[in-house]
């Protein structure tokens, strides 16, 4: 009898210890919108009804998260992290970690659903991994690459170098830089419209100069086609059936443009917003300094709902 009690206590103790490292489990079928909060290094999960239903408080200096093709594994990365960590949403715990070294600032899943692109700022390179975390290729690009965009038609990867004044275009077949074209400095945020041969690139500006414009380059040649005024500091673009949305964090403005690139609506939204995404029928915006997510009506660009999230929402991660 005594042995039984001791065993029971031991089991309780052990499970107690292990459970401290697990997070709220996220059911496999459930759609969600998650924010990566970099000030308090947490993930806030929001359901389809815009209720925050789970918070993962991860004690790692991570700045981004990527959902893999299995719709259950997420990768957590950050410039100061030695490893990329893989968590299972349904299990709510760490399942794997990839030894990639410091410097990862961005990760993207390519359209094949298997290849993963990691942007490494410490050696100014693009790393290609398979979904097991095995390194496939490394391609050297310009200084401090940040944003990557996959061009499906041409099977290309556009790499926008934040600390450089060029965009590197990688051939995904050969894993070689096809060509580079000059762009403005401190550029970030992009939108690829292959059917129009356009790549839209935003930015913060240079020195104390605040960027007022977004730039439209030719996706095939890199030639600057046009500039659009979008004050100030446009850093995120989005296109859906209702139009093109431009988010400028300097003035916390959201602009809605029509096909002719004319501004149809504009709205001040959030406080210092960096991130915007399509979720269901809506456009959602994250206010970095207000720690809130704003659900916008795509037609009127009005805020339909505000959701409080963790501190410093910097990136969205969606599962639909």
């Amino acid at each position: 009898m005594k042995w039984g009690i001791a065993l029971l206590l031991a089991v309780l103790l052990l499970t107690g210890c292990t459970s401290s490292n697990t997070f709220t489990k996220i059911n496999k079928g459930e759609s969600f919108l998650a924010t990566v909060n970099i000030k308090d290094t947490s993930l806030t999960f929001i359901d389809e009804n815009y209720h925050a239903f789970a918070t993962w408080d991860i004690s790692e200096p991570f700045t981004g998260a990527l959902l893999l093709a299995d719709k259950d594994t997420i990768l957590i990365y950050g410039k100061e992290m030695e490893k990329v960590q893989a968590y299972s949403l349904s299990a709510g715990k760490l399942i794997n970690s990839w030894e990639v070294g410091k410097g990862i600032v961005n990760m993207q899943l390519l359209h094949d659903g298997k290849s993963i692109v990691a942007v490494n700022q410490s050696n100014h390179s693009i790393y290609f991994f398979n979904d097991e975390g095995e390194e496939q290729d490394i391609v050297k690009v310009g200084k401090s690459p940040l944003t990557v965009l996959q061009g499906v038609e041409e099977n290309r990867l556009y790499v926008i170098n934040f600390g450089d004044t060029k965009c590197s275009v990688i051939n995904l077949e050969t894993k070689k830089v096809d060509f580079e074209f000059p762009i403005h400095s401190s550029s970030t945020g992009s939108l690829l419209r292959e059917e129009k041969d356009e790549i839209w690139i935003g930015g913060h500006g240079d020195g104390d100069q605040v960027e007022e414009n977004l730039y439209i380059y030719s996706a095939s040649t890199g030639e600057l086609k046009s500039k659009l005024k979008a004050p100030t500091m446009p850093i995120k673009f989005l296109e859906n059936d209702d139009g093109i949305f431009v988010l400028s964090h300097g003035t916390s403005s959201l602009y809605k443009l029509n096909d002719q690139y004319e501004e149809v609506k504009s709205k001040v939204v959030g406080v210092n917003p960096f991130e915007m995404a399509n979720f269901k029928e809506d456009v959602v915006v994250a206010g970095y300094d207000s720690d809130e997510v704003y659900v916008m009506d795509t037609e009127t660009v009005d805020v339909k709902k505000t959701i409080k999230v963790g501190e410093g929402p910097f990136q969205f991660m969606l599962r639909e």
């Binding site: 605040v210 964090h249 916390s252 300094d289």
Partner: protein, 471 residues
């Protein structure tokens, strides 16, 4: 002041001056610290207030040129630098992107400002390339940090102010130091001079000049030292006198019996003696004087022993009444011979703790004196009374008595009441002083009362011991 580094005055002077300098330095650094801190704190508060007042004019929305101009106008009329910043890049709005740009405010400061708090800064600011004290207040519209009002004062101006302050301080301190050194030196001289006087006086005493006296000017330790020195000099002086007198007395006392011995011996040798009877008379005189010499030398040795620490008493419990009676047995014949009336009232209780031999010496001396100085037909009364913790022996006679003037000195060495008749009294003049010493050594005391022609009363009080000793 003599430049003798070992002298007390120099040491005291150095100590006091060092203490003054140290306290001045300490006070200076403390004042600098507080001045700077209080001043800087006040400055920060003022800057925050100033910026807040300007910020109160901001009514939300984008920061207008009009508002900026107003602040610029204020800046032109004001000591501190004031400006408005609404460039998001300066306000660290792009910080997660690690832009290669030194922003005006840091991420932490931005966070504070976003919370509506004012930021206070102190230190080197790279942007202005100088040390500053600054205050930043946020201009917030609907949680958005639209801009800030930045106001600062270069700390260099404070340093200049502190330097000015320091110059005045140093001048005041120098003046203070000069005054302090002047008064300290004067005061120390005054303080030390009695010590020097004592030193000189001590030298003179060591040279044998005992009647010197130091002037006592104060009632402090030095005054007391001077007084003690004077007392000491007096004591030495007195002791010297006594020693001299004592030696004179000893020489005198020895000379008389010696001259007798010498004279009679010479007479016998010279054949001046006529017959055997006369020769026998001379020899008796020689023997008597030799006995006197022997007693004198014995008494002197006793006194010398009593004065030294080596004197040892062999104390035992003594039934005092019985002891007195035993001693008196030896006097029976002489009392009878002199037809004296001896009255005894002895309480049998007192038991004293004393040296039997020495007690006998004391009693002999007292009884000898009583019997010797009481005329035939007189009476001697001996009483012993037990008190609570001591007993009292009183020997009263109806003798000649002692003149009042001599009474205080009868127990002094070689003191004689009747100087002329001394030689044939048989005493050495040391008896009573030995008695006094012996009584005191046994924790008792002795007093003599006397009236001329009426008689003398000797009181000896000695501590008794408890009954247990009996059993």
């Amino acid at each position: 002041m003599r430049a003798n580094w070992k002298s007390l005055s120099i040491k005291l002077w150095l100590t006091i001056i060092t203490a003054i300098i140290l306290s001045v330095l300490f006070a200076y650094s403390l004042s600098q610290y507080y001045y700077k801190n209080l001043y800087v704190e006040k400055l920060k508060t003022d800057l925050v207030n100033e910026a807040s007042l300007l910020g109160a004019d901001y009514s939300g929305g984008e920061i207008t040129d009009d508002f900026k101009q107003k602040v610029e106008w204020f800046n032109s009329k004001n000591d501190s630098e004031v400006f408005v910043v609404n460039n998001p890049r300066e306000l660290s709005a792009c910080l997660p992107f690690e832009i290669n740009y030194d922003t005006l405010i840091s991420e932490e400061e931005r966070q504070m400002l976003l919370e509506g708090k004012a930021v206070e800064k102190e230190g080197y600011e790279k942007r202005f390339e100088k040390n500053i004290v600054a205050a930043i207040i946020p201009l917030i519209d609907d949680d958005r940090l639209e801009g800030i009002i930045y106001t600062y004062i270069p700390v260099d101006s404070i340093t200049v102010l502190l330097k000015e302050f320091a110059a005045k301080w140093i001048a005041a301190v120098l003046l203070f130091l000069i005054v302090a050194i002047f008064f300290t030196t004067k005061w120390l001289k005054k303080l030390i001079s009695p010590i020097k006087e004592i030193e000189t006086a001590a030298h003179r005493v060591s040279e044998g000049n005992y009647d010197i006296q130091v002037q006592v000017r104060s009632h402090d330790e030095i005054g007391k030292l001077a007084q003690a020195f004077n007392d000491m000099a007096n004591s030495i002086h007195l002791e010297e006198e006594r020693k001299k007198e004592f030696l004179e007395n000893v020489a005198h006392e020895l000379r008389t019996p010696l001259s007798y011995v010498k004279g009679y011996t010479q007479a016998i040798l010279d054949g001046v003696v006529k017959n055997d009877e006369e020769e026998r008379k001379y020899l008796q005189l020689i023997s008597r004087e030799a006995l006197r010499l022997q007693r004198l030398v014995g008494d002197l040795m006793d006194l010398s022993k009593l004065d030294s620490d080596s004197f040892v008493l062999h104390r035992t419990p003594i039934a005092f009444a019985q002891f007195i009676e035993d001693v008196l047995v030896k006097y029976e014949s002489i009392i009878k011979e002199k037809q004296l009336d001896l009255q005894l009232q002895l309480d049998p209780d007192p038991i004293i703790y004393g040296d039997e031999g020495r007690m006998e010496q004391i009693l002999h001396n007292i009884f000898d004196n009583s019997i010797q100085y009481t005329e035939s037909g007189g009476s001697i009364n001996i009483t012993l009374i037990q008190h609570k913790e001591d007993c009292e022996l009183m020997v009263t006679d109806t003798g000649n008595g002692i003149p009042e003037a001599d009474l205080p000195y009868v127990m002094n060495r070689f003191y004689r009441v009747n100087k002329a008749r001394s030689r044939f009294d048989g005493g050495s003049g040391l008896g009573l002083s030995i008695v006094k010493k012996l009584v005191e050594l046994q924790n008792g005391k002795i007093e003599i009362e006397s009236k001329v022609k009426r008689g003398t009363k000797v009181r000896v009080v000695l501590p008794t011991i408890k009954e247990e000793w009996n059993s």
